[in-house]
Symmetry: C2
Subunit: 200 residues, 2 copies
């Protein structure tokens, strides 16, 4: 079986969103599938001492400009949300619920949540909003809403974040392919060569 | 007159070194010249609260791997120096001394210092080592050595760092072309399109 490509991301990450719109086409060219692995950057940042990009002096202004410019460069619809960053437990737990049942449904929900936040400006940190978005994507909204408060999903997300940290993940998007780590959409050129050549 | 491309960098920056090997070919394709502007990341980091990449937990291990992989990807000779990071006042002052006299000489010295550190492993933070490297690049070594202790060069470097901060520079390499900022070698694709189209 061809190994999957692990795609670690936080629903509050602009670069994670942009990369989410590109990773499947890249994976498909190499006969790979994407394993969508939501994490919580806030927890990760506590381990590394890092801060949300937009809150870093000087770098924050550049980052906002670069989000918009990178979206145009990669031809992805993007509108900086009014509320940023957000806590992403609600959509992350719904995606983990879906991932355990049907990977294709998880992928569908990832795109729905990301676009709801970064295109439509919906605050998907709200469990009710997240359930509505899931409902709009064809999932039973009440079931999605219940997943947010399900202690099994809470535990699963904690384990996923721990596993990500153990795998060396410190940002979003973070891709691991055949054991090799790639941080950021701007490493897709190296990821592509790695998949082509098996390493360089 | 075609405007120059401002290339801000620190001599201790691996990505600055890799980009220094690529920027002239890119600039040349658009009839531009490069203005080499050495800065001190340590001073910049005090303003932004950032740390050297290799000292950040988890991210540090990835960074060292990414330096080597990016060098191979871009086909640039690279060997991680045993002493890292280093203070870069000595080569920076010598380059500023040259830049005030002959931009081509400044470019020549930038490459000599960067390769001395990131290929040959020489500790160019030492004023004597920096003067020797300048001597090997065709500059009078005693004159280069004197530039390191020259209060005019010290003041010029301070002004350059202040100017960089005022221009929004927070990392290395940091390129400004036609007023548009680009952080990192991994934004050269966007820089290239910007130079091609005049903005996007």
């Amino acid at each position: 079986m061809t190994p999957t490509i692990d795609f670690y991301f936080d629903f509050s990450s602009p670069y994670g969103y942009l990369a989410s719109e590109k990773i499947e086409a890249l994976a498909h060219r190499f006969g790979r599938t994407v394993d969508w692995r939501p994490i919580l950057l806030g927890v990760v940042f506590r381990q590394t001492g890092m801060s949300p990009l937009t809150q870093i002096p000087v770098k924050g202004d550049y980052s906002r400009r670069d989000f918009e410019r990178s979206a145009r460069f990669h031809n992805v619809s993007f509108r900086m949300p009014a509320i940023f960053p957000i806590a992403s437990q609600a959509p992350a737990r719904i995606v983990l619920w879906a991932r355990a049942r049907d990977p294709a449904l998880a992928a569908h929900l990832v795109h729905a949540f990301y676009r709801a936040y970064f295109v439509d400006g919906l605050d998907v940190s709200s469990p009710d909003v997240a359930a509505d978005v899931a409902g709009g994507a064809g999932v039973d909204a009440a079931t999605a809403r219940a997943a947010v408060d399900d202690s099994a999903m809470k535990d699963m997300l904690k384990r996923e974040v721990d596993a990500a940290l153990a795998a060396g993940v410190f940002g979003s998007p973070f891709i691991v392919a055949d054991g090799e780590p790639f941080w950021g959409l701007d490493r897709f050129d190296q990821l592509e060569r790695w998949l082509t050549t098996g390493g360089f």
